[in-house]
C-alpha cells in the first residue's frame, strides 16, 4: 500500500488506469481515499507497536539494566527527531514547488535515518544483556522491529528522491512525497514512546 501511495500521481496509482471521462466525483474523492488508507495503515501499525510496548512492561516491569548506554540512546533519539524536521522541510519545500531544496532535505533525512540505524546496530553490538532475559527480549524485539521500519522508511525515501529527481512530483501533485514523509513521522512517534520505556523509566 505504501508503494502504491508513492507511485500515485494526482491521487491515482501509477498503473495507467484512469477513470473514464466524466467521473469527476470519483476523481476528486480518490486522494482523500488514499489519505484514509494511509491513516488506517498507521492505526494498524499502532496496534502492533502498542502490543510490543505492553509486552515490555509485562515481561520486565519498569526494570532496566544498569549498563545501558544512555548517551547513545539520547544521541540516536536526537538524530531521529532531527530527521523529522528535515522531512517536514522537504514536504514544505515541494508544496511550494522548490524541488531542489525538497531533494536536499530528503537526502538529509535519508542520511539521518541511516545514522539512526547505525546507532541501533552499535547498541546491539555492545549490549551487556541477552535476548534470554526479560528486558533483553523486550529490548531486542522493540528496537529490532522499529529499526526495520526505519530501514524500510529509508528505502521508500530513496525511491521518492529518485522519482523527485526524475520530475515525477510538482507543487500541485506530490502525494507520494507527503505519504512517505508521514510514514517517517509515524516511525518517529513510535520511538518517542519506545525510547523512554526502554531507557528512561525507573
Amino acid at each position: 500500500m505504501a508503494l502504491a501511495s508513492i507511485y500515485a500521481r494526482d491521487g491515482y496509482a501509477g498503473d495507467g488506469h484512469r477513470p473514464p471521462e466524466g467521473s469527476h466525483g470519483e476523481h476528486a474523492a480518490r486522494p482523500a481515499m488514499n489519505a484514509v488508507g494511509l491513516w488506517l495503515f498507521f492505526l494498524s501499525e499502532t496496534f502492533l507497536f502498542g502490543a510490543l510496548l505492553a509486552a515490555r512492561f509485562y515481561l520486565a516491569g519498569t526494570d532496566k539494566p544498569e549498563h545501558l548506554n544512555q548517551q547513545l540512546g539520547l544521541a540516536i533519539t536526537c538524530v531521529l527527531l532531527a530527521s523529522s524536521f528535515t522531512a517536514y522541510s522537504a514536504e514544505v519545500a515541494i508544496s511550494k514547488g522548490r524541488r531542489g531544496w525538497a531533494g536536499l532535505m530528503l537526502l538529509a533525512t535519508i542520511v539521518l535515518g541511516l545514522v539512526f540505524f547505525g546507532g541501533v546496530v552499535l547498541e546491539w553490538s555492545e549490549a551487556e544483556f541477552t535476548q534470554g532475559e526479560p528486558y533483553g527480549t523486550a529490548f531486542f524485539s522493540m528496537t529490532g522491529l522499529h529499526a526495520s521500519h526505519v530501514l524500510s522508511g529509508v528505502a521508500i525515501l530513496v525511491l521518492v528522491l529518485f522519482l523527485l529527481v526524475r520530475g515525477r512530483f510538482s507543487r500541485e501533485h506530490h502525494w507520494g512525497v507527503e505519504a512517505s514523509i508521514k510514514y517517517w513521522h509515524f516511525v518517529d512517534v513510535v520511538w518517542v514512546f519506545f525510547y523512554p520505556s526502554l531507557y528512561l523509566l525507573n
Binding site: 486522494p31 489519505a35 491513516w39 544512555q70 536526537c78 517536514y88 507527503e178 512517534v189
Partner: protein
C-alpha cells in the same frame, strides 16, 4: 516553516527535560509518560498535520 522550527526546538527541549528527569528523579513514570505524550501530539499535529486530515480531509 517557522512552525516546524518552533516544534523541533520544543521537541529538543522536551527530550532534554525527559532525560534530566530520568537521571535525577527516582519515581519518574508519570512525568516521563506525560512528556512522551506531549512530544507525540506535537509531531502528529504539526508534522503529520493530523488536524487537516481530521477536520478537512487531505488534498
Amino acid at each position: 516553516m517557522q512552525v516546524g522550527t518552533v516544534v523541533i526546538l520544543a521537541l529538543g527541549v522536551l527530550t532534554a527535560v525527559e532525560y534530566a528527569i530520568a537521571i535525577e528523579v527516582e519515581q519518574n513514570l508519570l512525568p516521563i509518560v506525560f512528556i512522551a505524550q506531549v512530544k507525540a501530539v506535537l509531531i502528529l499535529w504539526y508534522f503529520m498535520r493530523l488536524a487537516r486530515a481530521w477536520l478537512k480531509g487531505e488534498h
